[in-house]
Symmetry: C2
Subunit: 370 residues, 2 copies
């Protein structure tokens, strides 16, 4: 547990006039406990939950199967274990709420995660609780990283960037996207990542598709390769994307790449405390618009325990940049029927400006591989 | 889309007296559409949904960001695209329900997945729909695999088994669990897997912990290594676990391993159409009980689009084995404060008995590595 995180949550609980909040999603259970319950994100009925009260009490609910793992790592004294198959985890959670004398209290829970069936069980067990949505409270708290979170995200950004650069530089004509995936993951894990999310390896005609994983497609001369991955450690994520060309790019592709990198430096310059998120997007659009392709609806988003967090810097939303925010910006083009190019960099907001966290693989010149 | 799957679902919809069911979880959207919507499982607000009506109409809801990918791969004509940030996917889903003239209908939806907030939106938009739980219908349908599903699961089982065997045989004193992870994933991806779930690499004193990923821990003489992974392709999963010893095992460890492998062959013999799932577990317990360690509450579970599916063969539940079921059995011990050993094999139920799908890495003798 990070005591600074708990203190910040208690402030927000109090400010919202609540008696407690309940973390239920994998990312918020990790946020409170500092620990990743291994199978929580794999099987949605294997619920885990953390309750934080306005007076600083913390309770946790976890499955019997992983009781030893949770006990050894989470360091929460009030740990309540339910039996898979024969106990309903919501009954155990309701029991904890009652023991904390919150059964007539104001309790916020993650309504965007809590399944409808489980909410019905809670309402039945706790008819006098005044339920509200905890999602905005957690989302807002998680935007500003602690020193511990920032150190982890910084080193993980470099590690992820290095793995992508290493994998792209290993690319050769005739190699499959799957083989590139092997090199990417070997480098990522050897560097210390524990997991990953959203591995995109899209070459040639596949490069135009957002969010597609590696296939058996073999590299050919002239292919564009878009490679993105979110490395994961202790539950935290960092996303980096690089683009390479097999052999030589066309003049148009070089021109697009130059624009995307100009956008990178523009956004890096614009992100600073006090800046308006939609204004950053508008200024990005002016530069990007020179290419004449359709933009996506954002150029940057927050990252931490989830691969997309608020604030978005885009067409929607109206947030102000604050010191301690961490995220990624990603100028990109997807040209239907042709190809796609994308560059994604991790940043954190400092007191005065913006620090580039993913500074390992050079991007100023489009990477050429053989 | 697999027409056999759609036909089976329509039978179940009709038998349940429903007008339609709505798939909303990643696994059930893939079950209906035959396609993995890339970022659905990564960001829970990026909902995707498939409606199947009792008269065979199919509609799909997907996000604008991935419209091109879904259009190119899912092959569903009635595809409704919502805009991220400005549209609520539940409004789009409600619109589809109305267009299908189901707004006074009996509609089952996944109550164990649908977030409480989204259910409230649907209820507001569709006050006259008679909602019920679709979860048991999908779970039951998915238990019996089609020929296409079985072929995929068979080849993926061998691929996963081979990757684990290859990684374990590469183990050497001084190598870290992370390095083993690299070899495991390289082999898995090079073989054709697109993703994976639940990579367990637990050596030495870590081998007693269920469901822990690789760490920086370096292999030492005498370590037990438990290695499990679920390889994933086209959304489908196969889980295999093997155990190895670095150097030489103790007499007790050899004895445990012999028992686990006797359990393997016992369970393989017991699984056949008509067998009772809890009875298989009871017979397993008789053999396993000779060791004197605590068992977990099941010895086998179904696998397919989810890494744990019904039926469980365990202390709870009362299902009967049927031809076409696919799953894994996994005799294991976790000895607190000491070590753990585990062997997990994929099987499918044939007309007369049980086929071992993961038959690549020999298990009869405990694998010794240097």
């Amino acid at each position: 547990m990070d005591q600074e995180i708990i203190a910040r949550l208690i402030n927000r609980i109090t400010a919202a006039g609540l008696d407690a909040i309940v973390a239920l999603s994998p990312e918020n259970v990790t946020y409170v406990s500092g620990f990743v319950v291994p199978s929580q994100s794999l099987m949605r009925w294997r619920h885990a939950a953390c309750i934080v009260t306005s007076d600083g009490k913390i309770s946790m609910v976890a499955i019997d199967m992983e009781a030893t793992t949770v006990k050894a790592h989470a360091g929460i004294d009030d740990l309540r274990i339910y039996r898979e198959f024969s106990d309903d985890p919501m009954d155990k959670l309701a029991e904890a709420v009652k023991d904390l004398k919150l059964d007539h209290g104001k309790v916020a829970i993650e309504m965007e995660f809590l399944p409808a069936k489980d909410f019905a069980t809670l309402q039945k067990n706790l008819p006098n609780v005044n339920w509200s949505a905890a999602d905005p409270i957690f989302n807002k708290a998680r935007q500003i990283k602690t020193a511990g979170e920032l150190a982890l995200l910084r080193s993980l950004s470099k590690l992820t960037d290095n793995a992508i650069g290493t994998a792209l530089r290993s690319a050769k004509i005739g190699m499959s996207e799957m083989e590139l995936a092997g090199t990417l993951l070997t480098t990522l894990f050897a560097g210390g990542a524990e997991s990953y999310k959203l591995m995109i390896i899209a070459s040639g005609e596949r490069s135009e598709f957002p969010n597609v994983g590696p296939s058996a497609r073999k590299l050919q001369h002239g292919d564009i390769i878009r490679m993105e991955i979110f490395g994961q450690k202790s539950g935290y994520l960092t996303g980096v994307c690089r683009t390479a060309v097999v052999g030589d790019a066309t003049a148009e592709q070089y021109k697009i790449w130059s624009n995307l990198i100009e956008c990178k430096y523009l956004v890096l310059e614009l992100i600073k405390p006090g800046a308006s998120c939609p204004e950053i997007y508008r200024k990005f659009l002016e530069k990007f618009g020179q290419l004449g392709f359709d933009p996506i609806s954002f150029v940057a988003h927050g990252i931490g325990l989830h691969l997309h967090e608020e604030p978005y810097m885009g067409r929607y939303g109206n947030e102000i940049v604050e010191a301690g925010m961490v995220g990624a910006f990603e100028p990109l083009v997807y040209i239907p029927g042709r190809f796609g190019m994308q560059n994604k960099d991790m940043f954190c907001v400092t007191d005065k400006g913006c620090e580039l966290l993913s500074d390992v693989t050079p991007t100023d010149t489009l990477l050429r591989v053989a």
